[in-house]
Symmetry: C2
Subunit: 433 residues, 2 copies
């Protein structure tokens, strides 16, 4: 089923025409109502009338997270605050928090985005969605909550934590869909096993992954453990929240709701727009948003875009799964390393658990990467020789993936802290020296 | 302003007529669609047609929390689960959890209840509500969230925790309304003081108290510390959630939305209905709910009801603040003691902080109550003699309130654990012997 056939199956030409109209409108609204854009466009001698084609968007400057921080708290709002009905905020761990504001129509648009996405995952009003994303200032929990309301499925707003109870509720309530971060999903699978029942006994129809990077290998692992297909949900608080792009049953890229957000891929160094299928930084523009429309927001997420029709019948552009972020790339001995590459290598090895941490140090003025990986219970009781073999195998696979030799440490099962949200994968100790 | 003048200012006669019609309808729906009610009414030889007047409700048996537990998880639903769009649940710490189910109309009714309540507190679309109640399976956070959406104010869904950030956000976002449990409010006031600014500097218009028992003295204390009026919000997950009854600006009892819930007061021992203004256990009946209508649910909360018109212009019945729960009454040496009585006594004494715990022991086959109270910073650096005086003073006040001599221990400032939700006030160690 397709939630909004008109929007999702529109021809590329009609979509481009619609996008141009909306882009002209949003640039005008931003210019007239948001002092930040007004000032910046004036300085650069840009006027809304300069947008005569979609390509003209390249004339506009980027908006960055730092720009949003400068507007803290409500400086980026395009409407008087009495028209705002909800605000969210990023955590602010790396500086002043970023605030995101929503009018009533924005919340409805957000619900629509997620409704489309849940429908792509095969979910309808007969489903029971256990939403383990946290509710709060962060947008995690609310996107799925609003989308579930829109399509009429049952939402269990359990949020993160109480992990044993999560499993009990999956069984007792007959949960058919569970939404989690991949790392929390792995933790729940592990707990379920401890509690003595096979996670496949829960009759899951779909799993939604959000808020974390992951590899195809992690998807396979989770799908096997839960016996259900897992779909990627992408989004970010600044632009709206989770649901901006979601995978369909083809599991071949995430459909972007292009009538709501306009995607571009740029070279993160030069800022130049890249062509289809080229890997680069995702840049998004809100086409419909009233409360806080962002224009050319640099997401820092690395992906590519494909505008081919999908086998599911939708014509919206698809983005690849995020393979890294421009700011969680680790530069080691001059080589760019993404945690996702390490994960990919790890998941090829038997007898280890997919729990890992990457520790970067600079002991003798030279960068070193250590990867802590958990041995499986079986392995840990086996011969030491076997452990050395596995360790070497992992080092080989990783070297193969990233082109660098790293040190691998096998640690005791269950000794790597389990996340109840986003996993902490990288510990960079170099700044401490 | 009154949110729904028709419903809230209706004459007592019209209300009674409306309630009878709705009561007849809900009893019929429960009888026909909920196996629990069908079976019970059959056994007692009751038929929906027996309800010919509001008084006839007394013919119907009570519903208890245990009945709901037996129906776990979805046994009390009156509609097919595809019509349910959201479920909540009590924590289940004292047995099987209780599940509460909502149709789309139920969520809308809940929003309406809270919209009325927020309006009673003087809140409108210009306000910014910082909602510190937790979102999750418990209904705490969602009631205010939905109500705020209804009236169009801004909701900051920050939920509980991150207490320093709460204060920062109050300042930065210009919060005008904060919703908290009284004990969490006290904690925030304390933190704000530590952070070096007077909590009165936050330009608060109203405070909403929920989910916890408190005394008039606690209200005064919080009002002084935050420089804003504090209003009581009552509700429970089984019946819907917070918002069933809310205080208006008169601060003279909580207006019950009587077109949605029918209130009775009973003698908790005999089950007999008590007359107006008599103290007893509150019993509530859902008049409008589709998903899980409860009939004569025993709330265990002790209060009284007053049907006089209020000076605010509303004609709905008002309940007194909850003074205790039938199950948190402590029986000591045959005397019934409620924590609220102890709190009332404590708040009369200067130089102590309103943080306390009540510890019940049975050292020599005789019950003893110890009350741990924090001394203020000033007091703690003063003479020991002064401390002894205060201790005696508190013991006197409590004896005066409950008729029993208890042992009071003054402890170091900030040594009683602060709650980030409901405070743990009573520690009963008698079962350990």
């Amino acid at each position: 089923m397709i939630w909004n056939e008109k929007a999702e199956c529109m021809s590329r030409e009609d979509m481009a025409e619609l996008q141009l109209k909306k882009l002209q409108d949003v640039v005008k609204r931003a210019y007239e109502n948001i002092p930040y854009y007004h000032k910046k466009y004036k300085e650069l001698n840009i006027h809304p009338n300069d947008i005569q084609s979609l390509e003209d968007i390249e004339k506009l400057p980027f908006t960055t997270k730092d720009d949003l921080r400068e507007g803290y708290p409500f400086g980026m709002f395009a409407v008087p605050s009495r028209e705002i009905i909800e605000v969210h905020s990023s955590s602010g761990t790396t500086g002043k928090p970023v605030v995101s504001g929503y009018t009533r129509k924005d919340i409805d648009c957000w619900s629509e985005l997620v409704a489309r996405g849940l429908t792509m995952m095969g979910i309808d009003e007969n489903d029971i969605i256990q939403n383990t994303h946290g509710y709060g200032l962060f947008t995690g929990g609310f996107g799925v909550h609003y989308g579930s309301h829109k399509i009429g499925s049952i939402v269990i707003p359990i949020s993160t934590g109480q992990s044993r109870r999560q499993i009990e509720i999956m069984k007792d309530f007959g949960t058919t869909v569970v939404i989690f971060t991949p790392s929390y999903g792995m933790y729940l699978a592990e707990l379920a096993k401890e509690e003595g029942f096979d996670s496949k006994d829960i009759n899951l129809k779909a799993i939604g992954f959000g808020a974390e990077m992951w590899t195809e290998e992690m998807r396979q692992e989770i799908q096997t453990r839960f016996g259900a297909p897992a779909y990627n949900i992408y989004g970010l608080t600044e632009l709206m929240g989770p649901g901006i792009a979601v995978e369909c049953s083809a599991q071949d890229g995430l459909h972007i709701s292009e009538d709501y957000v306009y995607p571009e891929i740029i070279d993160p160094k030069t800022g130049k727009t890249l062509e289809e299928n080229k890997n680069g930084e995702l840049v998004l523009t809100n086409l419909e948003r009233e409360g806080m429309p962002l224009i050319r927001f640099r997401t820092k997420d690395i992906t590519s875009i494909n505008r081919q029709s999908c086998q599911c019948g939708r014509n919206t552009a698809r983005m690849e799964r995020i393979t890294g972020r421009t700011d969680d790339m680790i530069k080691v001995k001059g080589v760019a390393v993404f945690p996702s590459q390490i994960e990919k290598a790890l998941l090829k090895v038997n007898n280890i658990e997919p729990h890992y941490q990457i520790i970067v140090t600079r002991p003798h003025l030279m960068d070193e990467i250590e990867v802590k990986v958990e041995a499986s219970e079986d392995l840990f009781s086996d011969e030491v020789k076997e452990m050395i073999n596995i360790k070497k195998k992992i080092e080989d696979y990783i070297e193969n993936e990233i082109g660098l030799r790293v040190k691998v440490t096998l640690v005791e099962p269950k000794s790597i802290p389990r996340s109840e949200g986003k996993a902490i994968r990288v510990i960079d100790k170099r700044n401490l020296h």
